[in-house]
């Protein structure tokens, strides 16, 4: 089976600073991967390179075996769908209009059903005719999630299981809708979708990804199952925080109440 995603010594340079420094890893189809790391570690940059939005300064990225920058944007959109952290819609489009934008040029009753299902899945069915700009931050985030789910479904209908890339998908969500998001991601993964999510919250990261990539200063500092990555040792090295990890089945969790800041010199 060929990998869904490959990063081969990927570096991204902006002026004098290295945003990503020789990052190498492979993601197999159907994996769920959470990317964690402190602010400015290069998480979002990694997602931008993997999605084809920017080209690496050095190294190579392959999405389903092809360099994303060599694909036409439309072809790329049918292989992977990306949910960005902040999306502001410029004109008064309705929620349903925005969700429909995920479908490209497709029209028809099958698409209407797809849009309806996505709106129900993100719990926005009752707000479908509202102007998206009048919604709360969390509601807007859910609307864009629905749009991305429509794009993913359209691509998967044509090309089989795709890759879902999420950048801080829970940043504005309340607890209830965080759980919804986990369920949505889980359902996609059961159908074979590869999931890659930048997650700020370490506890959520262990729930989103069976595998965790830890980034620090643009370098890959850890790569493995949650139990091997969310450890006091790793948190000390990457985040500068000690005594934070507690272990209660089913896995490790981080308790900020008991954690202390480490002086890393």
């Amino acid at each position: 089976m060929s990998p869904a995603l490959e990063a081969e010594a990927v570096s991204v340079r902006a002026g004098a600073s290295m945003l990503l420094d020789r990052v190498t890893f492979t993601v197999m189809p159907g994996e769920t991967v959470a990317i964690v790391g402190p602010n400015g570690a290069g998480k979002s940059t990694l997602l931008r390179v993997l999605s084809g939005e920017i080209a690496p300064s050095a190294g190579a990225v392959r999405l389903k075996g092809r360099e994303p920058r060599s694909c036409r944007p439309a072809a790329l959109a049918s292989k992977r769908a990306v949910l960005s952290q902040h999306v502001a819609v410029a004109f008064p489009f309705s929620v349903a209009d925005v969700v429909r934008m995920g479908a490209g040029d497709r029209r028809g009753s099958a698409l209407d059903a797809l849009v309806d299902a996505a709106l129900v899945e993100v719990d926005l069915d009752s707000m479908r005719d509202r102007i998206i700009g009048t919604l709360s931050g969390g509601e807007q985030q859910r609307a864009h999630l629905a749009r991305v789910l429509v794009q993913l479904a359209c691509g998967e209908a044509d090309h089989g299981p795709g890759v879902l890339m999420l950048d801080e998908p829970t940043s504005n969500l309340d607890l209830c809708h965080q759980l919804d998001l986990l369920a949505i991601v889980g359902r996609r993964n059961e159908r074979g979708t590869t999931v890659l999510a930048v997650v700020h919250d370490l506890n959520l990261a262990t729930l989103v990804g069976r595998r965790i990539l830890a980034l620090d200063h643009g370098r890959l500092a850890g790569d493995g199952p949650a139990g091997a990555i969310v450890t006091d040792d790793m948190l000390g090295r990457v985040f500068g925080v000690g005594d934070a990890v507690n272990r209660v089945p089913p896995g490790p969790f981080v308790l900020p109440q008991l954690a202390k800041r480490l002086d890393r010199g």
């Binding site: 931008r48 999605s51 939005e53 036409r72 944007p73 439309a74 790329l76 959109a77 049918s78 769908a81 990306v82 960005s84 999306v87 502001a88 819609v89 410029a90 004109f91 008064p92 489009f93 309705s94 349903a96 209009d97 925005v98 934008m101 995920g102 490209g104 040029d105 005719d129 509202r130 102007i131 700009g133 009048t134 709360s136 749009r147 794009q151």
Partner: protein, 362 residues
């Protein structure tokens, strides 16, 4: 409560899904255009009552006095109709150009006249008049050259503006508007400088052209203008979906499968051609490009597949009304049409700004 606001386009949306909404909108706009054009053909220094209009148009024979009919026909075909065609075409170009630019820059306040794109075209056209006369003494550039020069000037300004306002795929709205302001001021200073160094003859040409009256409309000039709306119609299908996606931001549009570079190139060339064509004929006419798309967004929603054709149609109506007012309000003198659109448009623009301010919670 703004949080409870329901889409003003809600009823339209439900209706248009049946397909009847689009047809009704098209019929309403075209009927409006026909009515306004008929009134514009009728009123003026030599009035042609509406009852005599069909005969003068040659639609059916008339029992009226042949000399009256001949006079009507002359006025209608050599003066009124070319002017109506020019106003309609230029109004359509200005409004659709505004709508495209607003979609491209994700900003409802973008207007080719406001941000110097028309000004750049005006500068290029004025420079052509003055420099052309300097290079070949006594040579007045033929009208056909001015749209080309204005197009190139508009293209250059749009490109510069885009480069100034965009960095790492993100377009800053504040820098875009302020940069546009600076470019508009610079272009206006350039035109002023050309007026300053021009000799009497060149000055007459430049001034005549800068006043931007539609009074000089002839069928041969219409023939020069005609390819622009045709190009607009042909290219609209290629940009409407991309402009919708651009509302999400450039990165999102790319993620959703849009070739954003191609969209930007196509839109910039199109807007520049449209603004250049309009400015080369009628000088800088502001605000039509802001008001018309904005009103339509409130009525039919922001989707560009409807917004662009509807803007073209309503733009034609608005400029036709403005031009008819321009030549009748102070008859026999003509009020410059740019003054009329500014008087009507500037308060509207301010109201729009205030509304945006309240939306932003300021």
């Amino acid at each position: 409560m703004s949080g409870m606001a329901v889409s003003p386009a809600r009823t339209w949306q439900a209706w248009r899904r049946s397909g009847a909404g689009d047809a009704a909108l098209a019929v309403a706009l075209l009927a409006g255009l026909a009515v306004v054009a008929a009134v514009a053909a009728s009123v003026g220094a030599a009035g042609i009552p509406l009852a005599r209009l069909p005969a003068a148009l040659g639609l059916w024979s008339s029992s009226a006095d042949p000399s009256v009919l001949a006079r009507d026909e002359l006025v209608l075909w050599s003066i009124r109709l070319p002017r109506i065609a020019a106003a309609g075409i230029i109004g359509a170009l200005l409004a659709a150009g505004g709508a495209i630019m607003q979609g491209l820059f994700r900003n409802p306040l973008a207007d080719p006249a406001l941000v110097g794109v028309s000004g750049g075209g005006a500068l290029a056209a004025a420079a052509t008049i003055v420099a052309g006369d300097r290079i070949v003494a006594g040579w007045t550039p033929p009208f056909e050259i001015l749209p080309l020069a204005a197009f190139l000037g508009s293209l250059a300004t749009t490109w510069i503006l885009y480069r100034i306002a965009t960095r790492e795929n993100r377009t800053s709205i504040a820098i875009f508007l302020l940069g546009g302001l600076a470019i508009a001021a610079l272009a206006s200073a350039g035109v002023g400088l050309l007026v300053f160094i021009a000799d009497d003859r060149q000055l007459r040409d430049v001034t005549f052209w800068m006043l931007g009256s539609l009074g000089g409309a002839t069928w041969s000039k219409i023939a020069v203008l005609a390819p622009f709306p045709v190009a607009l119609c042909l290219l609209i299908p290629f940009i409407v979906r991309g402009l919708d996606l651009m509302a999400l931001g450039e990165a999102e549009a790319f993620h959703a499968g849009m070739d954003t570079e191609r969209l930007k190139r196509l839109s910039i060339v199109l807007v520049s051609a449209m603004a250049g064509a309009a400015v080369s004929f009628a000088g800088v006419i502001g605000f039509v490009g802001i008001i018309v798309p904005h009103l339509l967004r409130l009525m039919i929603g922001p989707g560009h597949v409807r917004l662009l054709p509807a803007s073209a149609c309503l733009g034609a109506i608005v400029l036709l009304v403005a031009d008819t007012c321009a030549r009748t309000l102070a008859a026999p003198a003509e009020v410059p049409i740019g003054i009329l659109t500014a008087v009507a448009g500037a308060p509207f623009f301010l109201a729009l700004l205030l509304r945006q301010r309240s939306l932003a919670g300021l």
